[in-house]
């Protein structure tokens, strides 16, 4: 990497640091607000003095808020997210145990939405205004408008309950059959946006002079589409994939609940129900930090695809 490129990358990374700090501060304040005074925090704990003492020590509750934040950040830097009220274990351990399932689901869903979305968008954008274009774009709007958890239930109703092709829910020891419905559900939400964006930028690209030149050179349509059009249409698509991360992380608690998928999203929802605050705040923080880092990676991906952004 050239020094200029290195400086640009360094700049992007540095810009994320204050946001990440803001995220930790917000989660800390949420936690402080939820805990209130230690007595109230312990009420859900049947007043076990040992637990009260640990909460007091963990959160430095008898000290000023700034000191509490300092203590909390020090522990966070060591990867310590506190102890679960409900399961007598470290929150970090619980989240790490659940993370692979969510990661597997999210990656498969992204793969589905990008492959399907780019395919749909390319098909629609090839002949704008045609019947195919209209049908695909109508499907995309419908997909964007469908609540993800309801879609999951309907897919489960058709493919699991009625047809019996796939299991209704659960992780099934990690086989692919259990992954299909949750991944399609989570991916579907975003497929529509990818399709729309691909179509839009494809239409933009095909109007450019270099496309006319390439066509005049006698290049075959498929080569033209893949080599010239799609590569240049990829920039906005990367944006959409980036925005899609939000959809994915928003959809995770819902999809995981519908399909009893043992991921971090379902852990979060269950923890709210049990008022297991350390787990709630730990999961919220992890989701947010993953989101911040993923957005940074998307940002860096631009530099790779589009040399023009490197100058900025």
């Amino acid at each position: 990497m050239s020094p200029t490129a290195l400086r640009v990358v360094g700049g992007r990374v540095a810009a994320v640091v204050p946001v990440a700090f803001g995220v930790t501060l917000l989660v800390f304040l949420l936690n402080a607000a939820a805990l209130g005074d230690p007595a109230r925090a312990a009420m859900g704990q049947r007043g076990d003095p040992e637990v009260i003492e640990r909460i007091r020590r963990d959160y430095a509750l008898d000290r000023p808020l700034v000191a509490q934040y300092g203590a909390w950040m020090t522990r966070l830097a060591r990867g310590d997210l506190g102890h679960s009220y409900h399961q007598q274990r470290a929150v970090t351990e619980i989240i790490l145990e659940r993370a692979p399932a969510t990661l597997r689901l999210a990656l498969t869903a992204t793969l589905i939405s990008v492959l399907l979305g780019v395919m749909m968008g390319a098909l629609a954008g090839r002949r704008p205004g045609s019947l195919v274009d209209h049908v695909i774009m109508a499907t995309a709007v419908l997909g964007i408008s469908t609540p993800v958890f309801w879609l999951g239930m309907m897919l489960s109703l058709v493919f699991a309950v009625t047809l019996g092709w796939l299991p209704v829910s659960g992780y099934g020891g990690g086989d692919w059959q259990h992954l299909v419905l949750p991944a399609v559900t989570l991916g579907a939400l975003h497929t529509g946006s990818v399709a729309r964006m691909t179509r839009g930028s494809l239409l933009e690209v095909t109007r450019q002079d270099y496309m006319t030149t390439a066509r005049a050179k006698g290049l075959a349509e498929p080569v033209l589409l893949v080599k010239h059009a799609l590569r240049n249409a990829a920039i906005p698509v990367v944006t959409v994939v980036g925005i899609g991360l939000a959809d994915l992380l928003v959809g995770a608690p819902l999809t995981e609940t519908v399909f009893a998928w043992p991921g971090v999203g379902r852990l979060l929802v269950a923890a709210v129900g049990q008022r297991d605050l350390p787990v709630v705040m730990g999961a919220v923080l992890v989701f947010a930090l993953v989101y911040v880092v993923a957005n940074l990676l998307v940002d860096l991906a631009y530099l790779l695809i589009d040399p023009r952004t490197r100058a900025r």
Binding site: V19, V23, L26, L30, S145, P147, L277, V284, F287
Partner: protein, 278 residues
């Protein structure tokens, strides 16, 4: 432009408006349209989880309550939350955006860094975290949380408009003529931000409805006996294999409402932003 061309060009707005009109009408006139009480529990047994029939076009739920009545009455809640939250969000977002964009300086930096942080969270995840702060979930908390998290988009839209307009000649001219800040904001800045504001607010209604439904589905929103499409869907999941209609109808209603709003919002964007015309 002849009328039919206008209609064809803006079919999204027309279709979305019609869809929303029908749904809102059905929700508003629910007491007239269905004779069943949405909370009335069937007496005598044998009426629970009944398939759709002439007497109960959408079937009945596990307590024998008429699902058509429940879907329509829940529509009142879902639509009211969607629109009500967005009105509050728009007011708050406008205020913050205007203050940040028009006055600039340290206040602007502080407000915009705050939007950065709020936007750094996947929205539903932060909403769940906020709900967890309260002892007991409920629709009132959902409204509070959605307003507290929703203002960022509109604040940025309005700030952008205020920022770009502040230095325009006609705003400078108005200032030279002795107009005070409030007059300039109300007469010049707000009207110019109105288009993007309208689009963002319309699409926001749909996001609010989906968020409310999602939270209620997870048991973190509307609590029984408050009706909500999301809470009905949670019931529906329990009986998915034995009585799928319990899950189908509230979901279709939610889907149609959000579809209507998205068509309307996209249509408005095309209408107000000439760059989107092909």
């Amino acid at each position: 432009m002849p009328g039919s061309t206008v209609l064809r060009r803006h079919r999204g707005i027309v279709a979305g408006g019609l869809l929303l009109g029908v749904l809102a009408g059905a929700a508003v006139f629910a007491p007239v349209l269905v004779r069943h009480d949405p909370l009335e529990i069937a007496g005598g047994g044998g009426m629970t989880l009944e398939r759709p029939t002439a007497a109960h076009p959408f079937g009945t739920d596990a307590l024998g309550r008429d699902l058509l009545a429940r879907v329509l009455w829940a529509g009142r809640v879902s639509l009211a939350i969607g629109v009500g939250v967005e009105v509050l969000v728009a007011l708050l977002g406008c205020l913050i955006g205007l203050v940040a964009g028009y006055y600039g300086g340290a206040l602007d930096s502080a407000l915009m860094r705050t939007t950065d942080v709020v936007m750094a969270f996947p929205s539903l995840v932060l909403a769940i975290g906020l709900i967890a702060v309260f002892e007991r979930p409920g629709l009132d908390k959902v409204v509070l949380v959605l307003v507290a998290l929703g203002w960022t988009t509109i604040a940025r839209v309005v700030r952008g408009a205020a920022l770009s307009l502040r230095e325009r000649d006609y705003v400078q001219a108005a200032r030279a003529l002795g107009a005070d800040n409030r007059t300039i904001i109300v007469r010049h800045v707000l009207p110019n931000a109105l288009g993007p504001l309208l689009v963002a607010a319309t699409l926001g209604i749909g996001s609010n409805m989906i968020a409310e439904a999602g939270l209620s589905f997870l048991g973190l929103g509307a609590q029984s006996p408050t009706l909500s499409w999301g809470a009905m869907l949670a019931d529906g999941q329990t009986f998915l294999s034995s009585a799928p209609w319990v899950a189908v109808f509230p979901g279709v209603a939610l889907l149609l409402a959000v579809l209507g709003i998205n068509l309307l919002g996209d249509g408005l964007r095309d209408l107000l932003d000439p760059r989107f015309h092909d």
